[in-house]
Structures are given as structure tokens and as C-alpha cells.
Symmetry: C2
Subunit: 398 residues, 2 copies
DNA sequence: CGATTAATTCAATTGAGTTGAGTTAACACG
DNA sequence: CGTGTTAACTCAACTCAATTGAATTAATCG
């Protein structure tokens, strides 16, 4: 359990719009359009946004001057003057992503153009607030050194992944809890350690954002992400926005009961690293490290195959619930396990025909594998920060 | 099944902001603040929105001139000049709400101040597109006549409730399907019949909006609504916004399997009007009309009590899933059944302790009864339209 | 009664998008 | 090869709406 600063529902209090906030809104909008398109021109953005070409021109002028955009040659298509193309500048800035696990801290530095510039994993005895506070500054400067000049000095902020749920809930006491974080204001503690604005999120939400910003869910506005962690988490993106629930604890799908090996059990007793380790342990094989899992998969270990065959129907039930409750464009499966394991599980999962997602003409498969790999969570934490720069919103400048 | 105009995901394409759209945004924001507060003054709104008092003053001046707001006396509190209070003008406008059921059409006219001005229920043989098209104009003028002068002539639009799911899905063939609507563009058809802009929504979403705008969920930004209809539906409101899913079919909770009478069955086999009717039919009592249910409840009919006792644990499982997946501030239960039945069911429902919603300090109960009564769906349809006027958004004026 | 506090208004200013005319650079057709 | 067409882009004047700061009004406090 992690301390949650407020016991009341999140309130993002919409503020009124004025010229200044309009400009910030339109800047983000334009940046987002460039990111979405990869490369595009002013006139095209004007059409996409309903702004005049002049307005877009002024904004793009600003963004180029500020180093956010680069000119990328002219595009020659049909008649008329060729349109100058713009792309997100690789050195426009970067965001830090940090994952705090019970026995390790993972860090990633991701550029606003989507390049992962640096990753590192540090094992710790216990990831208590003191240890992490001492560890972070060093890690942070090391990360920044590795990309000096390339991502410039503009660090937008830090995203931090910590295991949920946040605040006191009926799910406390899970083995994934971090010691010592429940009593302190985690965000303030981390901002103090890093000297950067910090956003805290759970692993599944961060992973979902990783796939949306950097991975397989780019351009998909409404999807669910099943995160294969110690337990099983669910990250929800609807209309391009992360759904956190009223207290930041949406997505606790691991506790939903499903039929598994003939009995009703919480889904994460069937599908999760914890479940897999328990199963392999019973077969006297360890499965605590990602490399080991990969080896077991290559050697087609019968216990692993058995687990896959048992887990798939449980997963299918979970997906049916998610599909019927949220009607997503697709469900992404991923997490801190080898890509091959995810794919093997997907291959064995027969999706229920009785859901709203079983529609005739689909542009995406109902269940797809995440591509962000092992560093999904820390990269997602960074993606979280990057995403805000590309998502327009009217907000008072604090 | 109802025709869904597009087989691709909803796209509400954000447009850029300019002076005009900023003004519209701020107007809605101010209107929303007045609605939220009941009565409030300019300076207070300025503080709430981060706008200057001058800006708020100008906007309020406009809104009063346009008939949206009324002055409601000065408030004398402490020092300083007393603040003029403003309220939503009862005759500022109204919205039409229509529910199309297989054997009946229900209509409601709701003023922007929240007053229900008129309701009517018309039985029909089959609610096919032709019948409805012929019926609506008369119903509509009748509704408007009953409030002439009171709600003025400003009708903002019509909300229409039709049973989901929309478009082709894996859930087709449900008994709640409407005949003949799958082949036509329902929205265009209804706009033609009414001469008003039409918003189509399913019953649960409309009911959720009814409670948010008119009922027990006022001021609650994130909640789930369990709608007791022919089946069981789920309306989701997150951050004040209705969550429709990618194709408008979010909330099909009725198909989630739960343990009911010793076997895994879809939740709506346990909790729904359909389930109740089947159970009472087996006890040789009809239960097809709301009045009959009320009588059965008063006489404490043993079969009904038995059904309540059986349904409650199933409901509890459904609620646990909703809580863990969405972390709402509260869950509202309601629908087209007597209020007393809803309350009797709630009284028997023991909520799971193992969910994120089991938090120590709660401002709302975890499960509360809806208060919008029998006309929930049509009133909610109207609320849907009214809500847009009070919700700020940057959008191109088409 | 004067000082203080708070709401409101007036008038001038500012920021940002729009408008419409003009420029540039490609293609297409004779 | 030149002229017309098309489309991207730019310049300068304009407009809308919010901000700023001073002034006004109406209440309470001492």
C-alpha cells in the first residue's frame, strides 16, 4: 500500500480559458498532431484542428524556435507549393521513468520523440523510502549523462511506478506492498529526491501508456492493458485518457473471481508471475527471473506448457469481462515477462464469442501482445509524462 | 440490436481553440458552476474558474440577457458589498427525453433547471421505425404544449434511449432487441421525425446521467450505475464524463458470469426484471407491471422475498467487479422498478470487503438507491442533452 | 462616522486567432 | 516553353475576448 495524499476523489478542477491558455492548448494540440502523423505540414494541421493556417504557422514558428520541432524537408505531392514537413525534434526534451519494486529500482530515460535513451536496473535490499531517496539522485545524473547533448537539458518530469493499490483499501496486505511508503507523502518525497515534478501511477496504467505512446497501441484511443506483474493489473485508456478511477485504484482485475482448475479463484491466482512461479515451484523449477522463463519456454518445459494451458481459459474469462464492461478497440497483454511467453499465452487463449467485442469488421485483433518488453513499466512512467505534453488541456498555469 | 452509423471507433476530433470557442467554453463553465452551486455570485465563480471577475461579469451579463440566468437577490455575508446571486432560469430552455421500448414509447420534458415538466407513456404494438416516426411528432407537440411559456421555446435537443448493444456484436439476438432498427440510421430517422438534434444512448447510460444531473449522484464525478431493466446494464461516469467505450457498448455487465444458486450464470439471469419475472412466474404470480411489483412487496410475498435473497449475493459479486475495475466513488442502483424494491435489494446486499472501495473514510455509501424513479430512462435521455450545455468543451461550431 | 473589506464596473491594454490580399513553388496543358 | 492552376505560405490589418488597474458601491467593524 502506498500513501495517497487525499482521501477524497481526484479533482482536476477545470479552469476558464483565456488567450494564454488557448495558446498552450493549441501548442499541445499541434505537437500531438505532429507526433501522431510522424511528419506533417502546417496546412494539414490547420485542416485537422480547425485552426487557420496563419495560427498554425505562428505556433509552428514558436515550436521550431523552442526546439520542439525540426524541419524535415518538403513533400512533393501533386500540384501546389510543396509543404514543409515537421517532425518532433529528437533533442526537444526527455522524461524520466522510474519503477520502484520491492527488491529493485528500474530507471528509463525516454526522449519526446519516443527513443529510449537509457535504461538501468538496480537491485536493492528493501525499496523503503530512505534507500530510494539515497539511490535516485545518482541514478538520475547517470541517466542524464548518458544522453547529454542529445536530449538537451530539458527534462519534462519524472513518472514513478509503484505497486497499487493507493491509500487504504480492502485489498491491503498483498505481497506486492512496499514497506514504509504508506506513512509518507510519496510524491513529495520523490520530488524532493529528484528535483523534478513527479507523477505516480501503478504498473498497469504506466504500461498502458507505454504501449499508447511508444508501442503497439499508438493511435488506439480506447483500449485495455492487462499487465502481467506480480499480480495481474488492468490499465484503462478511454478516448486517449488514462482512467484512474476516483481514487487512482481502477483496474484491480486480479481480484475478480474466475473459474480456474474447477474452482472460483481470483484471476491473479491463475494469471500472474506469482501464479506461474508457484506452479513451477511445485514442479521443482524456479521461475523467478525473466531469463529463466525464456529458457523454460525454449525447452518447452511440460510444466510451463501445462500452466499456459490452464491459464489461458482463466485469462479468456477476464478478457470477456473487460470487453463487456468497457467495449475497447482491443486488449493488449504484456508485462514484465518474456515477449514469447505473452505470445504463447495469447496463442492458447480462445476468446469468448459472447461479448460486445465480437464484431464482424474489426481493425485490430481483440487480443494483441505488448511490444514494450521488460522495461515496460519504467518506460511507461516516462511515457506518462511525455503524453501530457502532447495532450491539449485547458489548465491554469500554477 | 440498433444500427450504429459507423463501424469504427468514435472520434470526437479535438479542434483548436480561438476567441469564439474560448467564450463558448467559458460560458458552459460558468453555467455549470451556477448549476452546481444552485445559486452563486460572480466573484465566487471567478475564484472557482481562475478567470478574472471582469470576464465572469461579462459572461454573466450575456447569460442573463440570453435568459439563461436569473438574479436571485443579494447575499449578505460578512463585510463588503453583498454579492448578487444567480440561478439557472427555469424558463431558460428544456430538453426532450424519449425512451423506445419494444412495446411502449416514453417521453419526458425536462427543464434546464432540473424540473421535469411533462411525462407520458404510450403503449405501442411494435416499436418499429415507422410506428415511432408517426407517433413522435404528436407526442412532441403535446409535451411542448404542456409547458408553453414556462420553458420557453428553446428546446436544446432530444435524447433517445434505445436498448443496446449498438451495431453487430457477439450479444445479438437478445430478447430486448428492437425490430427494424438495425437496418436504418436510427439517429437520422429520429432527427427527421422530431426536427431536433438527437443523441442516442442505452438505458443504463441515460439513467446514470439522470442521477448525475437530476438525482442522487449530483456532484459525484465518478460512479457506476447498475440499471435494472429487462436485462442488467451498467452506466459509467468517470470524471463527469459518460464512458461509452469505443463503439458505444460499454457496460454490458449483464453477461458477466457470477455464482447464482450454485452455478455460474450471467448476472442478468439473477438480477434483472427478466429474472424476477421468470422467478415469480414459476410461483404462478405475474410480475410484469411496476404496480404489481409494488403490491407484491407490500404483501411481503414469499417468492419475492426468496428472489431478493437469491439475487443479493449475485448483485454483490457484480458490484465487487465494478468496484475493483473502476474504483468509483459510489455505485447507484436503480431502474424501471419500484424504489422500494431497489431499497429492499440493497438492504439485503452484503458488499465484499475485498475491493478497493472498502476504504475507511468514505463520503458516500458504497451502494445507494437511485431516486429518479420509473421515468429514469427518458428523464436521463433529457439529462444527457442538458448536461452538454453545462459541460465546457472546445469544439468547432459545425 | 470613518476605516476596512469585498463586489462590481469602467476604460485601456494585451494576447492570440482570423481575414483577405499577396507571394512562392510546384504541376499541367497547350 | 510559357501560361494557367493549384496549394502552401506570409504579411498586415482587424477582431474577439480576457486581463489589468483604477474607480465606485455597499456592506461591516471599531
Amino acid at each position: 500500500m502506498v500513501h495517497s495524499p487525499a482521501n477524497h476523489a481526484y479533482g482536476q478542477r477545470t479552469s476558464g480559458s483565456n488567450a494564454e491558455r488557448s495558446r498552450a492548448f493549441n501548442r499541445s494540440l499541434v505537437l500531438g498532431k505532429v507526433r501522431e502523423a510522424g511528419a506533417t505540414g502546417r496546412a494539414q494541421i490547420a485542416r485537422d484542428t480547425g485552426l487557420s493556417t496563419q495560427a498554425v504557422s505562428n505556433i509552428i514558428g514558436d515550436l521550431v524556435a523552442d526546439g520542439w520541432l525540426h524541419e524535415a524537408g518538403k513533400r512533393n505531392e501533386g500540384r501546389g507549393q510543396p509543404a514543409m514537413q515537421y517532425t518532433i525534434a529528437p533533442c526537444a526534451g526527455a522524461a524520466l521513468g522510474i519503477e520502484i519494486r520491492p527488491a529493485a529500482v528500474l530507471i528509463a530515460l525516454v526522449g519526446v520523440d519516443g527513443q529510449t535513451l537509457f535504461t538501468e536496473r538496480v537491485a536493492v535490499d528493501t525499496a523503503n523510502p530512505q534507500t530510494v531517496h539515497k539511490l535516485l539522485p545518482g541514478l538520475c545524473t547517470r541517466a542524464l549523462k548518458h544522453c547529454a547533448g542529445k536530449a538537451g537539458e530539458r527534462i519534462l518530469g519524472a513518472g514513478v511506478v509503484m505497486p497499487g493499490p493507493f491509500g487504504a483499501t480492502g485489498l491491503d496486505g498483498a505481497p506486492s506492498d512496499l514497506p514504509g511508503w504508506a506513512q509518507i507523502d510519496a510524491q513529495a518525497h520523490l520530488e524532493d529526491a529528484l528535483g523534478l515534478p513527479v507523477t505516480i501511477e501503478n504498473d498497469a496504467n504506466a504500461a498502458a501508456m507505454a504501449e499508447r505512446v511508444l508501442g503497439v497501441a499508438q493511435g488506439i484511443d480506447t483500449f485495455a492493458y492487462l499487465y502481467f506483474g506480480t499480480g495481474l493489473g488492468l490499465g484503462l485508456v478511454a478516448g486517449g485518457t488514462l482512467q484512474r478511477g476516483a481514487f487512482g485504484n481502477a483496474g484491480e482485475i486480479g481480484h475478480v473471481p474466475v473459474l480456474y482448475r474447477g474452482a472460483l479463484q481470483p484471476l491473479e491466482q491463475a494469471v500472474s508471475r506469482m501464479a506461474l512461479q508457484r506452479h513451477m515451484h511445485a514442479a521443482r523449477r524456479s521461475a523467478d527471473r525473466v531469463e529463466v522463463l525464456q529458457d523454460l519456454l525454449v525447452e518447452k518445459h511440460p510444466a510451463l506448457l501445462q500452466w499456459l494451458d490452464d491459464a489461458a481459459p482463466a485469462l479468456s474469462q477476464g478478457i470477456a469481462i473487460v470487453e463487456n464492461l468497457l467495449d475497447p478497440q482491443t486488449v493488449v497483454l504484456g508485462g514484465a515477462v518474456p515477449q514469447e511467453l505473452v505470445e504463447a499465452l495469447i496463442a492458447r487463449t480462445a476468446l469468448s464469442p459472447r461479448t460486445v467485442s465480437n464484431r464482424p469488421h474489426r481493425s485490430h485483433d481483440r487480443l494483441i501482445a505488448g511490444t514494450c518488453g521488460r522495461m515496460t513499466a519504467p518506460r511507461g512512467a516516462a511515457a506518462l509524462v511525455i503524453n501530457t505534453a502532447f495532450t491539449p488541456h485547458i489548465a491554469a498555469i500554477a
